[in-house]
C-alpha cells in the first residue's frame, strides 16, 4: 500500500486540507487497550496552532472514532478516526502557478491535474493531525510498558537548546517537563530566543528552519531487522513522510564523519543491576538496525516553510509561462513547534509496529 505504513500495526492516512475531513485507519491494534480520548486530544492540542509564533488559522480538531473501539477499549479490529475540516478557506488558494518548494508541480505531474490543489490537498500538513491523533491512541499503552517518547526543538535559526540527558532519571524528568510545555524546548531561555527569531522572520515575510531531536526510551533490545526493516530505516521512512523533513540522523549522525572508531564506538559495561549497557550512546540505541536497549535518539532537519509572503519566481504550469507569485493566506513562519508531537506520534507508531511484530498482537495487554 502506498499511503500506509507498518507491517504488523498499520496506519493508513487519507484526507485533503479542504475536503470534508482527514483521518487514519489503524489496523493490527491489540484488543483491550483503553482508549483515552484525553490523550488523543492532548496530541492534537500540542499540534494545533496556539502560540503567537504559529499561523493565525485556528483549527478545532474535533475527532470522531468511527470504528474499532467499544466500551472504551480497542476491539482489535480496524480503528478509523476522522478529524473534520471546519476552518478551511478555499478562497486563499489558486491553481496554476506552482508555489516554489511545495509539492504543487510534482503533484500536477503525478496526478495529471486531478489533484485537490486547495491548501496542498493531500500533501497538506493538515493530514498530520491524523498522525498526531493515531499516536495518541497508542501513547498510553507504550507508557504503561515503560516506553517514553518525546521531541524537542534542538536548534532554531541560530539558537540551540540543551540536548537530552544521558542519565535515565534526568531524561525522564526532561520528558515530563516537555510534556507540559507549549513550546517544546528543554531550556526556556533558548525557547524565548527562538520565539523572537520566529516572530522576526514573520515580520520579514520569511520563515526559518531548524533541527528536532526525538528520544524513545525504554524500548527493549532486539527490535528491527538486518535487511531492510532496520529500526533506523523504519523510523526514517516514517519521518520522511513529512514534507518539511530533509535530513534524519541517529546518535552522532553526521557527527560520525569526523570521528575515529576508537572514540566513536560504544563500549559495553554492566550497570549496577547487572544489565548490559553501553557507556556512551553514540549509535543512538541502534546497532546493525536492531535496538540495543539504550534510548533511541534521532534528529530531523526541518526546512523553513516554503509558504512565504514575498514575491517568488515561478511557472504557471497550466499555461507554461514564467510568472511571479506572492502568496497570501495564513502561514506558519516555522513548523518546528508543531512538528514535535507529530514526530512523537510517528515514533509511537513505529515502536508499536516493531513490538507487535516481535511479541505478537496481544503483548500490550499482557502483564
Amino acid at each position: 500500500m502506498k499511503n500506509s505504513f507498518g507491517s504488523n500495526l498499520t496506519v493508513t492516512l487519507f484526507g485533503e486540507s479542504h475536503g470534508p475531513a482527514v483521518g487514519a485507519v489503524l489496523d493490527g491494534l491489540c484488543p483491550g487497550l483503553p482508549v483515552d480520548e484525553a490523550a488523543i486530544a492532548a496530541q492534537l492540542a500540542k499540534r494545533s496552532p496556539q502560540t503567537e509564533a504559529d499561523t493565525a488559522r485556528r483549527e478545532p480538531d474535533r475527532f470522531e472514532i468511527i470504528s474499532g473501539v467499544f466500551e472504551g477499549h480497542t476491539t482489535g479490529t480496524p480503528l478509523c478516526l476522522l478529524i473534520r475540516n471546519e476552518e478551511a478557506r478555499s478562497g486563499d488558494y489558486t491553481y496554476g502557478p506552482a508555489r516554489p518548494s511545495h509539492a504543487d508541480y510534482p503533484a500536477f505531474i503525478k496526478y495529471h491535474g486531478f489533484e485537490d490543489y486547495r491548501g496542498g490537498g493531500h500533501f497538506s500538513g493538515r493530514v498530520t493531525a491524523a498522525i498526531a491523533a493515531a499516536g495518541g491512541i497508542l501513547l498510553p499503552a507504550l507508557e504503561k510498558k515503560g516506553i517514553r517518547i518525546g521531541t524537542h526543538i534542538l536548534r532554531c535559526a541560530g539558537t540551540e537548546d540543551e540536548p537530552f540527558a544521558e542519565n535515565a532519571a534526568a531524561l525522564t524528568a526532561q520528558l515530563d517537563q516537555l510534556n507540559a510545555k507549549s513550546f517544546p524546548v528543554l531550556n526556556d531561555a533558548a525557547g524565548k530566543a527562538m520565539t523572537a527569531q520566529i516572530l522576526a522572520a514573520r515580520e520579514e515575510k520569511d520563515s526559518v528552519g531548524g533541527i528536532t531531536e526525538t528520544v524513545i526510551s525504554g524500548l527493549p533490545a532486539g527490535l528491527g531487522e538486518p535487511w531492510f526493516d532496520s529500526a533506523e530505516g523504519l523510523l526514517a521512512h516514517a519521518v520522511y513522510s513529512l514534507g518539511g523533513v530533509k535530513g534524519v540522523e541517529f546518535g552522532l549522525g553526521f557527527g560520525f564523519a569526523a570521528e575515529k572508531g576508537s572514540r566513536a564506538n560504544d563500549p559495553y559495561r554492566l550497570d549496577g543491576a547487572g544489565n548490559i549497557v553501553t557507556e556512551s550512546n553514540h549509535n543512538g540505541g541502534i546497532l546493525g538496525g536492531i535496538t540495543t536497549g539504550m534510548p533511541v535518539l534521532f534528529r530531523c532537519a526541518v526546512k523553513p516553510p516554503s509558504s512565504i509572503a514575498q514575491p517568488q519566481n515561478t511557472v504557471d504550469f497550466l499555461r507554461g509561462e514564467e510568472t511571479v507569485l506572492t502568496l497570501s493566506g495564513r502561514h506558519d513562519p516555522t513548523i518546528l513547534r508543531r512538528i514535535c508531537p507529530v514526530l512523537d506520534s510517528l515514533a509511537v507508531l513505529v515502536s508499536a509496529d516493531l513490538l507487535t511484530g516481535r511479541f505478537g498482537c496481544d503483548w500490550f495487554i499482557k502483564e
Copy 2:
C-alpha cells in the same frame, strides 16, 4: 517481509558471512531486459577490496544466476543470484564478548543465541555483495532510459571532495569519470589526501568515517507517494539497511536548519527547451515526497568501522562478565570506498521500484 524491500520490484536478501553463500531474489522484473554479466561483475568489482586502503581479505565474488534469466534476458520471473563465500576464515571469530558497536549483542537478544555469529553472520557487509550485484542487473536498463546514478566520497576524515555539478552536462561528465575510478572522488588530490588519512588510521589501529553523496539524474517527475512512500522515505529506508550509515539527508539536508525560506526555496523557471526546472536544487529533486525531475541528491553519514585492533571494554554476554576485547582479523579502516557501489545499487533498486509502480512492469522495454 522483513529482509525484502520494494513494493513492485522487490529484492530479498539472504546469506551469512561464513555460510555457503550470500544472495538475492529480485521479483517484479520486466521481462526482456538484457542481462549484462559484465555489468554485474563490474558492480561487484567496485565493491571488492582492491586498493591498499582496503581489508586484506580478497573475495573472488563469482556469482551464479539460478533463475529468472533465459537466453541472456530476464524472463520476468524471480531472479535468484548467488555469490559463494570462498574466502571465509572462521577461526578469526569467537562468540561471547560483544564487539562494541557491532550488532553482536542486539543480535544475541533478537535471535536468542542461535545467530551465526561468525564474521557478523547475516549482518556482515558481505551481504552487500548481493545488493551490488542486484543493482548491476538493472543499471543498464536505467541508463538506457536516460537515468544515471553515481556516488562519491564527499568527505573522509578532514578532507572534502568537490560536490556534484549542478549543470547537467558537467554532472554527466563527472559520473563518467567516477565510473572509471577505483577510488570514487571527483578531485583526485582530495582522494590522495583521503587515502593517506585512511592508511594512517590503519597504522594507528583505528578507523575513519565520512560522508558519501549520491546523485540520480534523469528520473522523471511524479514518482513517490505523499504518505508514506515518499521518494525520500524509500531511499532512506533502503540505505539505512547498511549498518554503517547513521545519517541521510536530501538536498541542503541539515543545512536547511540555518536557512530562511526566502533563500532556501527553489524558484521555478523554464529552461531553453520549455521544460519546467528549478533554478536551485536545494530540495535535492524531491518535494512533498515526489520527484520533481531535477537530480535526486542525497548524502549519507558513514561511521568509522567498529572493528578496530585496539583493546576495547565490553561484556561477555554468555557469562555476564565485563572483559576487554582485542579484535584480530582483516578489517577495513573505512568502508567509504566500498560502500559507494552499494549505495548506487540501492538507488538503482529504489528507482526501478518507483518506475515499475508508476508505469507498469513492462515500461523498461517500451521504446
Copy 3:
C-alpha cells in the same frame, strides 16, 4: 495489512454493525476517474434488503465520500467512503451464548472479549456495504475498458438457474438483463421457484444455501502471477472474506474430478478476427494462474445463514455452561440475492488491482 486487500490498488475495510459507520479506504486509484455517485448508489441498492425474501431490516445506505475525490473525479489519493449505520437496534443482541456457526466464539478467543459483539460487529455482513460501494467506484472505469462483471444465483435450495452463455454476445445480453433485475437469475421461472423456497424456509424458521456464479468478461490475457498471486488465488482470497462463502471453484471446478485430460483440456483455435481463443472454457479463463483472455468464471458455495429462529444448542462462553439459544431479530433466510453485488464488487477490485499492477496506475485513463 490484515483488513486490507490488493497489492497495487488496495482496499481497507473498517466498521462494526452497530458502531457509527462502516467504510473503506481505496488506495492506488488512477487519478481522473469520473466518480459516478449513481453507480455507487446502484451497487448499494442491489445489496440492500428490498424483496419479500430479504430481512425486514431496512438500511438507507447513504454514503459519504470523505477524501480522494475532487470536482467529480478521483484525485489519485486515498478515497475514504463512509456509510453511516442509521438502523441498528442493539437490543436484539446479547453477549455470552455463542450463536452457532457465527464468528462469536472464535472472535471471543481472538479479541479476548473486547470485540463489539452487537450484530456480529466487524464480522457483520453490514461491512459488505462498504465493499459494494468500493466496487461501484471502479465499475464504470472497467466497463469503459470493455470489462463486464456479473453474478447470478446458479442454484438455490433445489432449483437451478441457466448457466452463463459461452457466446460473447449472448453473455453480454445476459449481463445487461441481470443488471436490471432485483432477483439476479437468468431464468425468471427459476427465480420464482427459488423465492418460493426461500419464503418457505423463513416460514419454517430456517435458512437455505446455494451457489452463485460470477463472470468477468473482457479481461485481457496475461494477468496474474505463477506463485502465489494467481488470478484464482487473488479472487478466492477476496471472496473468502465473506463468512458465508465455503467453496470457490473456477471453470469446471469440482467437475474436473470426474474428467479426463482429453475431454477437459481447452483446445486453442483462431477466431474470425485472428485472435487466439479456446474452443471450450473449462478452465474458467485462467491457466497456471494467468488470465487467458477468455471469460473468467467462478462459482461460490454459499452456506445457509446461521441465524435461524429455532432453538439451538450452544455454550455460554462467559459462564462456560451449555445452554439453548433462540435468536430473535430480523434475519435473511438466505444471503444469495444480496451477496451477488458484493461478489461483483470484489471481482471489480481484484480485476482493477491486477490491471493496475500490470499496466501502471494511469492505465484506466489512457485512450
Copy 4:
C-alpha cells in the same frame, strides 16, 4: 511481492524447470528451530515420482541449505534452500504451439516471449519441490506444538476413499498411517482401484482428475482475520498457486448449497475436559474466517494433467496458425498422489504464518 506468500512468515519461490535449480527463501522463521534434514528429505521423497503410476522422470531432489541455518538450528534470518535440476531433458520441449490448458499461451502474453518455455519454466510442477522442502523445515516445529497435517486422495476417477475421522484419536491414527504410505489413501482397496484407473488412463494416453482432502488438527482457535486475511482466504490463496487446483472448499463446501441452516449449523457443547467444541464440524474449523479450534478441513479439485499423448488442436502463437500438437515426453497421468505432500507443506506454511502473526516470532520455541 508477487512470488511470495505470507505476512509474518514469508516464502518466496524461484526457479525454472530446466534452469540450474528451483528454490525458496523463508523469512520470518523463529530462531532456534531444529532443522531436521530427514524431515525435509521425507517431504521431497513423498513428492518425487516413485510408483508405477507416476512419470518415468526420476529426480534425485538433493537440496542444499544456503543460509539461515547454523549448527543445526534456524538462525531466524532468511533461510534459502536450493534444489538442483539434475534430470532435465530440454530436447523434449518446443516453443510455439501452445500446449492446451497449460500456461504456455498466457505466459507468452505476460512475458512477451521471454519466458523460459522449457518444461513449463517457472510454471512447472518442479517448483513445488521447493514448497515441499520449505514445509519440511516447519513440519516438526508444528508437530511439537500438537499440530498435525495430512492430505489424502479423497476421490480419483470414479473411486472414493474413506473420509477423515471426526474422532480426534482416530484422526491421529489415520495421519500416522498416511505418513507411512506411498499412495496416500486411508482405504488401501480404494487406493488399488485408483492406481488401476490411473494406469488405464496412461494406457489410453489420457489423464485423470480427482479430489484431495487436507486436515490441520490442533490449530488453536482465534487465528485469521475477518477482512481479508481469513484462514480460508489464506489457505485458498496458497493452494491456488498450484496450476492443477481448480476448486477449494471448506467443511461441507459445495455441499452447503443443498443444506438448511438448521442442519448445517454446528452446535456448541462442552467436551469432557470442559473445552468448547462443536458437535459437528460442517464449517471445517473456520467461522467468519477465524479458526475455531476444531480441525481445519479443506478439499481441492485437481484437474487431470493437461499433458496427454493424444493429438490436440492448438495454435502456434509465434506464427498465428492453427496446428495439431502431439506431446511426447514423460508425463504423470495424474498429479493426485504427488500433490498431497505439496498441499501439506502449503498448509504448514499458512499455519505457521498465522501462528507467528498471532503469537510473535518466538512462539515456536517457547515451552
